[in-house]
Each structure stands twice: as structure tokens, then as C-alpha cells.
């Protein structure tokens, strides 16, 4: 089987055919002026020469097409460089650059080794398919064309960005002997607890000589200043990646493409979790990540900037693997940890999980990540959405009635989410309720 790359085009056949026809017409009629009209198309269809290579033939090799990812200029931009290297003899190269969720752009460039910068903008996060290029070289006057060369760029992992948050709720009961918070235990710290007679185990540098001189001038009893120990908070970010729904109801069945300029519920969940994780890590607390859509080991809680990178990667990779099975028990979280659940609450499973965590003493903050849904034109979809929305609202009301803070993280409410979290922190400071403040 012959593997042909360059072929003659209909342009060549039409040029030769029309040229010969007009030439014959002119000859038969004895009209040189009529015959002259057919000369140029005939020449153009038969002659493959070009400036600089007047006697050369048609090209023979493929056009080399590669896509190399590059760093985007701005957040949300994905960039790459398209390299075109056509063979000698090609006159122009026609490239069509497409990307999921974007309108394709076609360009025709002169056939020479070229580098074309490509960009696309998206608010989507996680693994993203990017550029697909179909390129085709054309010979002299389009009389020859090569078979299209298709190249797809490798998928890119887009990490979620974080919104700066001031304070976020942390559990009231803290863990460890060091950290940014003051615990209720005695230990090394800055906050004074009391002044107490010296006891075995007390360090000598803690003796308060002023108090000792005032209370026991004969130094019969030494007094030490005792402080509260410091501790750190632990938070587990649980992302409900079972649903990845956008504002368009028609895409909820998973058949239609989702727009790249509208975040889906999973994008909002990643953004919210990254923001909370950033605030917690900046405060020196420990953060872990779990994913309801996947059965795999959760990312255990830890602190530090390097761990924050691990958290962002885990969030970017959170996505459902197949059809997630219903969990029979809630994911285990460390003792005294606060749970942030990022969910659309489109079914009862998040509600059951919240109740299970709260029953074991874990404070829970429910972050609602369902985007603002656009109304549908179709009557059956409108009806289905009314029922779904009513059930969802009922679940959220029940959660709120049971004392679970619900923070909405979509639409206009996303800008106010930081204030809502700050309000929760202040409420905890006032009432010493289920969640504390960092």
C-alpha cells in the first residue's frame, strides 16, 4: 500500500482542464486573444517552480508540527508554542488550532520554519485538554497538498487559585505542643495562666522573683509564672467531586460540553478549598485533603508551604473515577479536626456525612459550591430543576437548623464568602461554640 503524503488537488486539474479547453477554443476559432486566457491557468497548474527554486518539483516530506507548552502570561491563561517546519517546495501552510470549549482559529502562513504563540483562557481547573492542531501544507499555487497532520498537545494540570481570606474557623480543641494558637493546657507559651508555688518539674527560669519577694519575703516558697501551651489546629478539606455540574442544566447529563469561561461546581470547590487551605497554612495550621469521588488514601494533615503545594495538587486532581459508590461510613478524620465539606448538596450523602462527623465531635463547615444555575427553556428540565432545587434547599435548611454553618461559594456570594467565614470566627469567639478561631 502506497503511503502518499502530497497529492495533486482539484485546483490543478481544474486549471489544466480549463486552460486546455480555452486554448482549444481559441485555436479552433482562430482567436489568439481567447487562447491567451487559458495560458496562465495552464502554466500555473503544471509548473511547480517558485522564486529561488524555479526548476524544483513538488514537495515530498510531511510538515513537521509540534506543540510545546509554555508558561501563561496571566492567571487562567494556558499558552504553548506551535512549531511548523514545512518541507522545501511547500508554498503556504494552513493550520487550524482548536481547543475544547473554544472556537477554532485558522491561520495561513508562509511555508517556512515558524513558531506561533498559542493562548487560551479558561477558568476551569484540574486536568485540562488544550490545543489540537491540524496543519496542511500546499505546494505551488495550491496545485499540490499534503495529507493533514494532526497534533494534540498533552493535557495540562491547572492548579486552583486561592482567594485571600482573613480568618477561617478552626476547632476549639487544639492539638500538639507547638503552634500558632494558645491551648488550654499548661506548657510553654506566651499567655499567662497563673502564678503558682514552685513544684517539682517547674523550670527555674520561670520563677517570678517579684511575686516571690512580695508573697514570701523569707523565700520559704518560690513562685513561678505558668503559661498556656501553644498548639495547632487541624483541618480536613473534604471535596465532594462526585458532581461536576455547571450553570447550564443541559450539560448535567454529561453529554454537552461545559463552557470554559464558567466555573463548574468542582472548580468552585477547588477554589474554595485552596483558599481555605491557604489561610490555614498561612496561620501555621495543619491541613489534609480527602475526596469523596475517589477511593484512595487521603492526603494526611500537615503544615508548611511545601505541603500547601501538595494540597493544591491533590485538589486539582480531585475528580470522580467512574461512578462513585455510596459510602457506608464517613471518611475518618484526625481527632479534634475541623471538617470543611465542599459540596453541591444535590443528594443526601453530604447531609449524612455531616451528621456522622458531628456525632463524633468534629465541627463541620459546609461550603455550598453549586454555581448559579441558568433557567432552561425545556419544560421537562424546568420541572426537574424545580424539584431538585426544592430538595436541595430543604437539605441546606436542615443543616442550618442543626447548627452547621453553610457558606455559599458561587456567584455573587463568592465575594462575600470571606466575610461569612470571618463572621463565623467572631461568633465562635463570642459564644465559644462548636468552632473556634485561629
Amino acid at each position: 500500500m502506497t503511503d502518499r503524503t502530497w497529492r495533486r488537488t482539484p485546483q490543478a486539474a481544474a486549471g489544466v482542464g480549463a486552460g486546455v479547453l480555452v486554448l482549444c477554443l481559441g485555436l479552433l476559432a482562430g482567436r489568439a486573444d481567447v487562447a491567451l486566457i487559458g495560458v496562465a491557468p495552464l502554466l500555473g497548474g503544471l509548473w511547480a517552480g517558485r522564486p529561488g527554486a524555479w526548476r524544483s518539483g513538488a514537495p515530498e516530506q510531511d510538515t513537521a508540527v509540534t506543540i510545546e507548552p509554555t508558561a501563561g502570561a496571566a492567571a487562567g491563561d494556558l499558552a504553548a508554542t506551535l512549531r511548523l517546519d514545512p518541507p522545501p517546495g511547500a508554498e503556504v501552510v494552513h493550520a487550524r488550532v482548536a481547543a475544547p470549549g473554544h472556537r477554532a482559529t485558522g491561520v495561513v502562513v508562509a511555508a517556512a520554519a515558524r513558531e506561533l504563540p498559542l493562548t487560551l483562557s479558561t477558568v476551569r481547573t484540574g486536568p485540562q485538554r488544550t490545543f489540537h492542531v491540524d496543519a496542511r501544507g500546499y505546494g505551488a499555487a495550491g496545485t499540490t497538498a499534503e495529507d493533514p497532520v494532526s497534533v494534540t498537545a498533552p493535557a495540562r494540570l491547572v492548579l486552583p487559585t486561592a482567594m485571600p481570606l482573613a480568618r477561617v474557623p478552626v476547632p476549639r480543641r487544639l492539638r500538639g505542643l507547638t503552634g500558632p494558637h494558645t491551648s488550654r493546657r499548661l506548657g510553654d507559651g506566651d499567655e499567662l495562666r497563673d502564678v503558682h508555688p514552685f513544684a517539682p518539674g517547674d523550670r527555674l527560669h520561670r520563677i517570678d522573683w517579684h511575686t516571690t519577694a512580695r508573697r514570701s519575703p523569707d523565700l520559704a516558697t518560690l513562685y513561678v509564672r505558668r503559661t498556656y501551651a501553644t498548639a495547632e489546629a487541624t483541618a480536613v478539606l473534604v471535596v465532594d467531586s462526585r458532581d461536576d455540574v455547571g450553570p447550564d442544566l443541559r450539560t448535567w447529563r454529561g453529554t454537552g460540553p461545559q463552557r470554559v469561561d464558567e466555573p463548574t461546581s468542582l472548580d468552585l470547590a477547588r477554589h474554595a478549598a485552596a483558599s481555605v487551605a491557604g489561610a490555614l497554612v498561612a496561620a501555621g495550621d495543619r491541613v489534609g485533603v480527602d475526596d469523596l469521588g475517589r477511593r484512595r488514601r487521603p492526603l494526611p494533615p500537615a503544615a508548611g508551604r511545601r505541603h500547601l503545594r501538595r494540597v493544591l495538587h491533590a485538589l486539582a486532581l480531585s475528580s470522580p473515577a467512574g461512578a462513585p459508590a455510596r459510602r457506608l461510613r464517613a471518611p475518618q478524620v484526625p481527632a479534634d479536626a475541623i471538617v470543611y465539606l465542599f459540596s453541591t448538596v444535590l443528594d443526601d450523602e453530604p447531609v449524612d456525612l455531616v451528621r456522622a462527623w458531628r456525632a463524633t465531635g468534629h465541627p463541620v463547615v459546609l461550603v455550598d459550591t453549586l454555581p448559579d444555575v441558568r433557567g432552561a427553556r425545556e419544560e421537562h428540565m424546568r420541572l426537574a430543576w424545580r424539584v431538585t432545587r426544592a430538595e436541595r434547599d430543604d437539605r441546606l435548611h436542615r443543616m442550618a437548623a442543626e447548627g452547621v454553618p453553610v457558606v455559599r461559594w458561587a456567584g455573587d456570594a463568592r465575594a462575600e464568602a470571606g466575610l461569612r467565614l470571618e463572621a463565623l470566627v467572631r461568633a465562635a469567639e463570642r459564644h465559644r461554640g462548636g468552632v473556634g478561631a485561629r
Binding site: 485546483q11 489568439a32 491567451l36 522564486p51 485558522g106 483562557s121 495550491g142
Partner: protein, 195 residues
């Protein structure tokens, strides 16, 4: 075709109105460029001008040549490609047969380049979408070669004009040699072998 048009209309309606805005466009940075619709418009205008120009040289009923020109121009606008371009060329040649300035109408010295330009624009119009970008450098690269082709045909035209109406000894031999060269070129290029 109707189904394709209907599905395109539906997709356009959904993208434009049901989501509120069209999909974003993939960004490609190129050197100075022309949008594809300019070439399409130029093709239609060129075909119209060619046929009207050729029709103006004839003694035919003007309405007939104008109708023909409009029909071909409409075809070129709806389905641009080699077919309307070369049909326009052949029709122009047929119209020129009716020219009163036999045996050589000097208008062919501008009609022939225009006809070739129409065939080239037909190729561009059929290969480039209305919103696609054509680098000026790509147009320039093809223009040099096309210029050489047009110049060669004009040289032949000038020679034909100079000898029109006069018997020239040996011209028959030159014609035979030219036909043989043409046949050899065609056979050599389309021998059925892979390239």
C-alpha cells in the same frame, strides 16, 4: 446540506443566545494578516468584474452577459472554489469570442491576468474560512510566483498580438513543439507514482 445548515444554525443560536455570549476564541499570534472574508469578497468581485469586462467586449445582448455574471458571482459567493473560478474563466473566454475586434482584442491583455487572478482567489476563498487569518507574507509568497506566471502569459500574448493576422513561417512547428512539451509535462507529473 440542509441538515448541516440547520445544525449550524442551532449551534450558533445556542452559543449566541442561550448562554448569553459566544465561545471564546483560541489565540494565535501571527504577523500582519488579512481576514479570510476579504479574499472571499475579492473573489466574488473579481469573478463579477471578469465576466462583466468580457461581456462588455461582445455584441451579445448585455442582459445575457450581466445575467451570466451575476449567476457565476452568486455561485462564487455561496460555494467558493475552483469550480466557479474556472467556469468564470471559460465563460469569459466564450464571451470574448463575440468580440468585434478580431483577430486579437487587446482587452485580453488585462482580461487574462484578471482571469488568472480569479482562479487564484477561488483557491484562497475555498481554503480559507471567513474568520481565518491569512498572513500577508503568505500572500506575498504566492504573489511572486503568480506574477511570474502572469508575466510569461503576457509575453506570449504580446507576441501573439504582434503576429496576429499575419502568416509566420515556422509557427506551426513551434505550436507542435509546445503541444508536445505540454503533453510530456502532464504525463511526467501524473504518472500515477507516489510522491
Amino acid at each position: 446540506m440542509i441538515a448541516t445548515v440547520r445544525s449550524r444554525l442551532r449551534a450558533w443560536w445556542r452559543a449566541r443566545y442561550e448562554t448569553g455570549r459566544p465561545l471564546p476564541v483560541v489565540g494565535v499570534e501571527v504577523a500582519p494578516w488579512l481576514p479570510g472574508w476579504v479574499l472571499r469578497a475579492a473573489f466574488v468581485a473579481g469573478a463579477l468584474a471578469l465576466l462583466l469586462g468580457a461581456g462588455a467586449r461582445t455584441t451579445l445582448v448585455p442582459e445575457l452577459s450581466v445575467t451570466l455574471a451575476l449567476l457565476v458571482a452568486a455561485w462564487a459567493a455561496v460555494r467558493p472554489g475552483p469550480a466557479p473560478a474556472h467556469v468564470a474563466l471559460v465563460v469569459a473566454a466564450l464571451l470574448l469570442l463575440g468580440s468585434t475586434e478580431a483577430p486579437f482584442d487587446a482587452a485580453t491583455l488585462w482580461l487574462a491576468p484578471l482571469a488568472y487572478l480569479v482562479t487564484r482567489l477561488g483557491w484562497w476563498a475555498s481554503h480559507v474560512g471567513a474568520r481565518e487569518r491569512v498572513e500577508l507574507a503568505a500572500l506575498g509568497r504566492t504573489a511572486v510566483r503568480d506574477g511570474v506566471v502572469v508575466a510569461a502569459s503576457l509575453v506570449i500574448g504580446a507576441a501573439a498580438w504582434a503576429t496576429a493576422g499575419r502568416p509566420v513561417a515556422g509557427l506551426v512547428a513551434v505550436g507542435v513543439a509546445a503541444l508536445a512539451a505540454l503533453a510530456w509535462t502532464v504525463v511526467r507529473r501524473d504518472d500515477g507514482e507516489a510522491r
